[in-house]
């Protein structure tokens, strides 16, 4: 094991998959000469050349459609969209095309496509560059939507996504690229499945379900809560679609209390979907109402002060936990 950044983990996954399989290639805006907006693809153009590392025009619809077509034609494209906000320009290709073909054409087409894109806020990018839109895509049958939070998961899940026969939306986070974590040495082969969450911290008093950047905030909160005697079980969802429901239900049956912490908006999103499932499958095990920590229901403001106020944070998680974990339970 060694410690590398999330960014480097992604690059290693891409490089290893490109070395392993000639059909794998990457395309996107400014991924070659520029090295990637977030420097994920830095050096790959020099290593693999223009056939397999393709700069594209700023035309999200056609590059997404072309990636779908290339996948249909037998290749394994990894498309980088500069941010998930821009994916809306390609949403027809993602939602009406990639997600539909397999079913609509009676199980004939195969679209082994990965679309990488960062979402989320926190870097003062303003309202049009800070959205968490995973819930939009996770609503759609025919897609897989994953959001790894650690370098280990990022590398392992990206490799799985490249090898997966279905379209996978691989959603990163701008503030995760510099996060460091332990990853097996280069050349040590491992993958992480696309349909499994993981318990990142064991606990008995409350289950906190989270994913992407909020995992790190949640783990910090959990560590500090432990000093007060509250043991939180932290589940990293990792995959938004499909959902590892069994993992959630098993934990809820143990802790009987749930906090969901996500960066998306509150209404009609991932957290509310999870809450509905938990009530549906584990209602009898619940001892308190589910608490939901989210972004404020506003477009993201630019001002540093306002942006901080809009994003879910450490305090919100701690408060949510304390709202449903009675002191008596902790000291019992």
């Amino acid at each position: 094991m060694r410690t590398i950044t999330y960014r480097d983990a992604l690059r290693e996954a891409i490089r290893e998959e490109m070395q392993r399989d000639e059909r794998v290639f990457i395309l996107g805006e400014d991924i070659a000469g520029y090295g990637g907006t977030y420097a994920v693809s830095k050096g790959l153009f020099e290593e693999f050349g223009e056939k397999r590392v393709r700069d594209t025009p700023l035309a999200e619809e056609v590059i997404t459609g072309a990636a779908i077509g290339a996948a249909l034609g037998g290749l394994r494209p990894i498309l980088e969209l500069m941010t998930i906000n821009f994916s809306l320009l390609a949403s027809d290709q993602i939602v009406n095309q990639a997600a539909k073909f397999r079913y609509m054409f009676g199980g004939q087409p195969e679209i082994p496509l990965v679309i990488r894109m960062p979402g989320g806020g926190g870097a003062q990018r303003g309202a049009q560059h800070s959205q968490s839109l995973e819930s939009w895509y996770a609503h759609i049958p025919g897609l897989k939507v994953v959001m790894p939070a650690t370098p280990y998961d990022a590398k392992g899940m990206l490799k799985s996504a490249v090898r997966d026969p279905d379209p996978v939306l691989f959603i990163e986070h701008e503030l995760l690229y510099n996060v460091k974590g332990e990853v097996p040495d280069e050349g040590v082969e491992y993958t992480v499945p696309l349909n499994r969450g993981e318990v990142k911290r064991q606990g008995e008093h409350v289950t906190i379900i989270t994913f992407s950047r909020m995992l790190h905030v949640t783990l910090q909160a959990a560590e500090d809560l432990a000093k007060e005697g509250i043991e939180a079980e932290v589940i990293d969802l990792r995959s938004i679609r499909p959902i590892d429901i069994d993992l959630l239900i098993d934990s809820v049956k143990k802790t009987n209390r749930v906090v969901i912490a996500e960066e998306g908006w509150k209404y009609y999103g991932t957290g509310q979907g999870l809450a509905a499932l938990i009530y549906e499958y584990a209602f009898d095990y619940m001892d308190a109402p589910i608490q939901h920590v989210t972004s404020a229901d506003v477009p993201m403001p630019y001002s540093k002060v306002l942006e901080r106020a809009a994003l879910p944070n450490y305090n919100a998680i701690v408060n949510a936990v304390k709202t449903i974990v009675p002191a008596a339970l902790v000291h019992a």
């Binding site: 035309a59 077509g69 034609g73």
Partner: protein, 341 residues
């Protein structure tokens, strides 16, 4: 009778008669489909190819069987021409399990990996970017197949058209973009929708050769397509064809076509019917006889009727089919575990 085996546009008599048969088949198939739609056997939207037969037949005659074809929602013709059994096409219209998409697609969604028919797309213009990608895959793998991408004049108004032509051009992709300009995008007349009166300036804007073709003359369509195919297959990049045609029916089965006059329709049917034009040409050149046309037409009618009978007698999809084909491995679909009972 002429002695030479080659007669018209480099085609033999046999090939010319085959072209005639295919146009007759598309015509009779669509007429049968319309009849079955009226009888309630076919649901949803259905867009007929009647009047536009020369476009599909002429273009497909210039392609190799291993070339790929993408089309719009008006694709029954391309499906049959790509080699799909009329039975499988009709059964799809009926929503039966024997349909080419197992009854899950319908009129607008025909597919076959084996035949290289890659949809059937009901989002206007969406197939143009995908066609570029399929062409990229062949270029990447060093295969000399090409892609023919059909779309209507309405697709030209979509951003996807412009993005796709630009990408195909800068990457020199082996794709031929074929605009079937039938004069109306649903009810919007093309001269009201387009800022220019032909596609030639658009082709020039994306630095690719463009050609305008009379789509009611199958021989002219074939010859234009052949030129484009030769060029594109030799690695010189994409081409754009604007094939001017006319749909004799409404946009779809539910369109009463209030936006154009009955006189206009009658004029086209009477003087510009692509089958009639082709028959006259063959007769004038003494390349075929009315008896041969009648024979083709009878065969086409029989095939269309057989297809409808087959579709009618086929089974509906079983309830289990609801939850199959969502993903390649359906166990990774949410519904598979939590809804499927």
């Amino acid at each position: 009778m002429a002695i030479s085996n080659v007669t018209l546009a480099g085609l033999t008599r046999t090939q010319l008669l085959e072209i005639h048969y295919k146009m007759a088949l598309l015509r009779r198939f669509e007429e049968k489909a319309a009849e079955e739609y009226t009888r309630g056997k076919i649901g949803g939207f259905m867009h007929l190819y009647i009047g536009q037969e020369a476009v599909g037949v002429g273009c497909l005659a210039a392609l190799r069987p291993d070339d790929n074809v993408l089309s719009s929602y008006r694709e029954h013709g391309q499906a049959i021409l790509k080699g799909m059994e009329p039975r499988a096409v009709m059964a799809e219209l009926f929503g039966k399990i024997t349909g080419c998409s197992k009854g899950k697609g319908g009129s607008m969604h025909m597919w076959s990996n084996e035949l290289g028919l890659l949809g059937g797309n009901a989002i206007v213009g969406a197939q143009l970017p995908i066609a570029a990608g399929v062409a990229l895959a062949t270029q990447y793998q060093g295969i000399d197949t090409i892609v023919a991408c059909f779309f209507g004049d309405g697709a030209v108004d979509e951003g996807a058209f412009h993005e796709a032509l630009n990408l195909a051009s800068i990457w020199k992709l082996p794709v031929i973009y074929i605009c079937e300009n039938n004069q109306y995008s649903m009810g919007m007349a093309v001269d009201k929708a387009w800022a220019v009166d032909s596609l030639l300036p658009r082709a020039a804007a994306y630095n690719m050769p463009g050609e305008q073709v009379d789509g009611m003359d199958v021989v002219l369509v074939y010859e234009a397509m052949k030129r484009a195919v030769e060029r594109t297959r030799s690695g010189q990049g994409p081409s754009l064809l604007e094939i001017k045609t006319y749909r004799f029916r409404g946009h779809s089965m539910t369109d009463p076509a209030y936006y154009r006059t009955r006189e206009e329709e009658q004029q086209w049917r009477a003087t510009r019917d692509p089958i009639g034009i082709f028959e006259k040409k063959l007769l004038d050149l003494d390349l075929a006889s009315q008896a041969q046309f009648d024979e083709n037409d009878t065969r086409a009618t029989q095939v269309a009727e057989d297809a409808a009978e087959f579709a009618d007698q086929s089974l509906d999809p079983t309830p289990e089919e609801l939850y199959t084909d969502v993903m390649v491995d359906d166990s990774t679909a949410l519904s598979f575990r939590y809804e499927r009972k």
